[in-house]
Symmetry: C2
Subunit: 159 residues, 2 copies
DNA sequence: ATTCTTGCAAATGATTTGCATGTAA
DNA sequence: TTACATGCAAATCATTTGCAAGAAT
């Protein structure tokens, strides 16, 4: 499982840069969110942060995540199945793939999809500020020849 | 935008075809939903249906709409801003445009967007069953007052 | 008579808010 | 000391469910 992108760039500084006081609970939340590719829900963030910070409240987690979103550090994504908000630390343009079986959400490299709005038509009628794309389906698990297939989807290959 | 596909095919029959008893409240709901392009929420459906059917309850509206979705007559779309479910009578493949100012959701002809998954890569890893695309932005050329299409074209018999 | 349908109210699940208290600048 | 941060409980919002009563078959 790939770890922190910037162990060198302190979270403290990233928060300060956008005017957020780097309190201990906030750092704990930030640290988890920026080190996972799993698009966690607030509930999931709480469960994880609780391990090192047992007193953290769900309200604080929600409020903190919302604050991060407002400051542009995080993005919200709707979980279509549970109707919950998921938080995405990847703020670069990208698309999503949702596994219909597990509900898992993966990032897709934008190069995997070529989207060309027919600007001759669309551009006259609409000014587009964001393109949101989610593919749904099943992840095919390749079985290397001769190896027993473990269905344990533990590896996030993206990032 | 295109209206109900089959003004000639009575709603009664469409419901019966999928095994739904065409009761009066259900016909009223169906009649509204299939004659608007506004992607209404359950609350909006209720407000409209109430006009001709004052006793209808919100629960029945929700349950009926869910039933229609289960039978494949309707599609659910998430309203990103209000977090509510919107109902889309257009079951053919298409994309959506959401006006950031008004929150209005419009159907986009699939021809307005060219999407080409890089199947050489994607197809090995993912089996895609659905492509969900929503563009966000502003509508430049406003058409007439596009609040709600008249839902009264219920020439389809009721009662 | 048995099986659906409906409306109401209560339950649920996700998220937000009010408030009293604690902490930091 | 004045402003923020936190936890708790209560409030909200959208949606679902339990149930009793009525209608359809």
């Amino acid at each position: 499982m790939s770890k922190a992108q910037h162990p060198s760039v302190p979270l403290r500084q990233r928060l300060r840069e956008v005017g957020i006081q780097p309190s201990a609970p906030r750092l704990a939340i930030a640290s988890y969110v920026w080190n996972t590719t799993s698009h966690p829900t607030a509930e999931e963030v709480k469960e994880e942060v609780e391990k090192t910070f047992p007193t953290v409240s769900l309200a604080t987690v929600y409020n903190t995540l919302r604050l991060f979103v407002e400051k542009g550090l995080l993005r919200e994504v709707q979980d279509y199945h549970t109707r919950a908000i998921r938080y995405d630390c990847n703020t670069k343009p990208h698309f999503h793939f949702v596994d219909s079986e597990t509900g898992e959400m993966l990032d897709l490299d934008p190069k995997m999809l070529r989207i060309s709005p027919e600007m001759s038509v669309l551009g006259k009628e609409f000014q587009i500020t964001e393109i949101e794309v989610t593919l749904h389906g099943r992840r095919l698990r390749k079985v290397k020849n001769g190896h027993r297939a473990r269905a344990d989807s533990e590896s996030n290959e993206m990032n």
